[in-house]
Amino acid sequence: MKPILLQGHERSITQIKYNREGDLLFSVAKDTVVNGWYSVNGERLGTYNGHTGAVWCVDCDWDTKNVLTGSADNSCRLWDCETGKQLALLETSSAVRTCGFDFSGNIIMFSTDKQMGYQCFLNFFDLRDPQQIKDNQPYMSVPCSDSKITSAVWGPLGEFVIAGHENGEINQFSAKSGELLKKVKEHTKQINDLQSSVDLTMVVSASKDNTAKLFDSASLDHIKTFKTERPINSAAISPIMDHVVMGGGQEAMEVTTTSTRIGKFEARFFHSAYEEEFGRVKGHFGPINCVAFHPDGKSYSSGGEDGYVRIHYFDPHYFDFELEA
């Protein structure tokens, strides 16, 4: 496959996300730039200018009207997708680490970091109520005292938020009452990324403890584990095949002792049922920070520490591949 290389950022990519139809790809990085691209040919649609610090997260709502971004400049901003205009600015007391629209596109959640004496909070805003945005008053703010939230996704039907913590815990917080519904500790180290499947029934967690785990969204049952020798920065579930893609880092020690091979950082493909690795794709010049599958499953993208986003369209060979049991 001939990947399309998107060079819109000067610093490492923090997150990439497709919109629901998959024709737009949003990428955010530590360089304050938010880019929107057409995923079909890599043409850039535009940039959402306004943030003054590293942008940690991005999300697009289901009808691609609004884009939500959270940044280290202590703000969470809402943008109009088509024109790039900033619609709302929600200021916080510490950096915003994760953000997301719920299934309906009406409620937004974002989590703030534990820094400078402020605790980690999970905030919920209702976009149908303009008063909340004007006063910068979330209708609910849930504090998390022990370990800060490093990644969070909405559960099915907007009922709860599944959050991954710095100590490896995964918790479910109700979106209506804010109470802790379920709690699971399967990982031993920080959870770097949480992504849900297209139908929101499963969630894959990528962790620093060199494993990625697949959970059921509603019950948080631990279904599968994918083991590697490197910390995993991001994982995504394929919408059409039983595959999971992961991107990670190479330990600093390894880099100097192994032979130098440019573009060695790989995205690894695992079979989600057999928990076995079946493929690797090279190309990045630095650890891969984020991976995402196109909603139709025919392509995937990865954003790396090198500041590049690569869109890969799979060869027909990929779809015919059968893992020999």
């Binding site: 496959m1 649609l45 535009g46 200018n49």
Partner: protein, 272 residues
């Protein structure tokens, strides 16, 4: 529209342009459609005043998409892309080299592949260093059996040396004599102080400080006290018996000859 650019240079196009009858200005833009490949040929004058020919090749693909997606494709660009032309901008988007997914049927295969390619492993096969004790792949000082095999080796060498010395004596040739001293050594130099029968003293540079100090100090101070007594006596009785004066003079000389006392006296004024 996805675009694919490739280089298609014809020889001496500059001559062709000149032949066509130099218009002085640039030739018009040509657009050629061949099937679904569109080739646009543009002529431009560069910053250096040179004529450049730009050939862009586009593959026109018709894709069916939902209404919403199609509408989004026609959105106006904004932000940093506001002044961009239609189609991908070369600065931001490039087609990278072919990358193939390496399919792994067996994890071992992949690891083996990695190892073969590693030149480090090729070096590992060669024997570069060898230990004198156990002939292993490490330096002698880093031998894991240093404390066990090391002394054993010494003893063996000694025995060998002595036995060969005995054997050679009855033979009585000049050569063994030369070898004898070499063989009687266990192969290591033993300094005189550590040899058997050495007292191991007389090696340190520092003199016997404490002993010598102990000998001198009491004597010095004894003389010093006599001197003090006499001076006190003289002070008290100014008539000065002759003998005290004489003794006083002698003792004073003795006292002042000692550097130690001089030091003390200088420090303590009033006693001069």
């Amino acid at each position: 529209m996805p675009s694919i650019e490739f280089d298609d240079s014809k020889p001496s196009w500059a001559d062709q342009v000149e032949e066509e009858g130099d218009e002085g200005t640039l030739p018009p833009i040509k657009e050629v459609m061949k099937g679904n490949i569109k080739t646009i040929t543009e002529y431009k004058i560069d910053e250096d005043g040179k004529k450049t020919k730009i050939i862009r090749t586009f593959k026109i693909e018709t894709r069916k998409a939902s209404k919403a997606v199609a509408r989004r494709k026609n959105w106006k660009k904004f932000g940093n892309s506001e002044y961009d032309a239609a189609g991908p901008n070369v600065a931001t988007t490039t087609v990278s080299d072919d990358v193939f997914m390496t399919f792994i049927s067996n994890k071992e295969d992949l690891n083996a592949q990695d190892q073969d390619e590693d030149p480090m492993n090729k070096l590992k096969g060669q024997k570069i260093v060898s230990c004198r004790i156990c002939k292993g792949d490490h330096w002698t000082t880093r031998c894991p059996y240093k404390d066990t095999l090391g002394p054993m080796q010494k003893e063996l060498a000694e025995q060998l040396g002595l036995s060969t010395a005995d054997k050679d004596k009855p033979a009585g040739s000049a050569e063994p004599e030369a070898i004898q001293p070499a063989q009687s050594k266990t192969g290591k130099y033993v300094p005189p102080s550590l040899r058997d029968g050495s007292t191991r003293r007389g090696e340190s540079m520092q003199p016997n400080r404490r002993g010598s100090a102990l000998a001198v100090v009491p004597t010095t101070f004894f003389i010093f006290f006599i001197y003090l007594l006499l001076s006190f006596a003289i002070q008290c009785d100014k008539t000065c018996l002759n003998w005290t004066q004489n003794y006083y003079w002698v003792i004073k000389k003795a006292v002042f000859s000692s550097a130690r006392i001089r030091f003390v006296l200088v420090r303590v004024p009033g006693l001069k």
